[in-house]
Symmetry: C2
């Protein structure tokens, strides 16, 4: 375990800013999560930016492509964004011809969001780019650790209270 420490003398000398990895902050899982999130978010932003998307609009597009026909409330809840933010993201994607709103078959007062053919195509290419970016971000991990990380994060997401805050 010690050898994987970022402040391990073998990897980097514990001088300069690296010595701060030995403090309580460097041992704090919440801090480490924030750090990992910042790294992957920057990489994903750059990847989807090539397609004129932001990470948030990419997520909405991916859910529109999924075939699950999410409505605006569901998108808001799943992506933890305000309904007004979701409306703005859908508007933006609709204007570009990547998604369209359709009445829900079960309740025609409710609109669901579905991808257009062009939306599917842009998504497929953006997804390839995000997968490359993600592979780069996680290249320090072996396959087992990548799978374990995903499993642990899914457990956290499913935990009671995970939707709070």
């Amino acid at each position: 375990m010690r050898n994987t420490s970022p402040s391990s003398p073998a990897a980097r000398p514990a001088e300069g800013v690296d010595r701060l990895w030995g403090t309580s902050v460097g041992e704090d899982t919440a801090f480490l999560l924030a750090r990992a999130n910042a790294i992957t978010l920057a990489a994903a932003s750059a990847a989807v930016g090539e397609f004129g998307l932001k990470v948030r609009s990419y997520s909405v597009l991916a859910l529109a492509v999924s075939g699950e026909r999410p409505n605006q409330r569901e998108l808001s809840e799943f992506l933890r964004l305000d309904p007004s933010q979701i409306v703005a993201l859908i508007d933006e994607l609709e204007k570009r011809g990547l998604v369209r709103r359709e009445p829900d078959a079960g309740d025609r007062r409710v609109n669901v969001v579905v991808a257009t053919d062009e939306g599917r195509e842009v998504y497929a290419r953006a997804r390839e780019a995000t997968e490359r970016a993600e592979a780069q971000c996680f290249s320090a991990l072996d396959v087992e650790d990548r799978d374990r990380l995903k499993t642990i994060l899914r457990t956290l997401a499913a935990a009671p209270g995970a939707s709070a805050g």
Copy 2:
């Protein structure tokens, strides 16, 4: 592995918004990291908020308490915040009497940040609160998975390129 899935039928029926966990978005590690970060950040904010701190000022205070005598450039680099943000955070903590700037013994043109006695005391209590909040956030994980998560995140943080973006 399947049983830990958030959309596992045993845990929740895959209807309503939960069916979206079966999409590519719900399988995306970067998305799951963002979700976990949002949950722990909200919990940590609430915990340190009781002491008049924000997560960022708490991190600066923790590093001031560590005894490592970080200077402003090191705080900026380690916490990935702009130097101007770091200056504002130190100013705020100094005004409250929790930290003070001292000339670095090695280079007296450079100031380092150290905690006052009161800063140590506030930090100790805020740390207890964040540890309780963190324990709550990670209560869905067994001890082995918590350790594994931390180890994986430290590996990511130490990876070449982790400071980019």
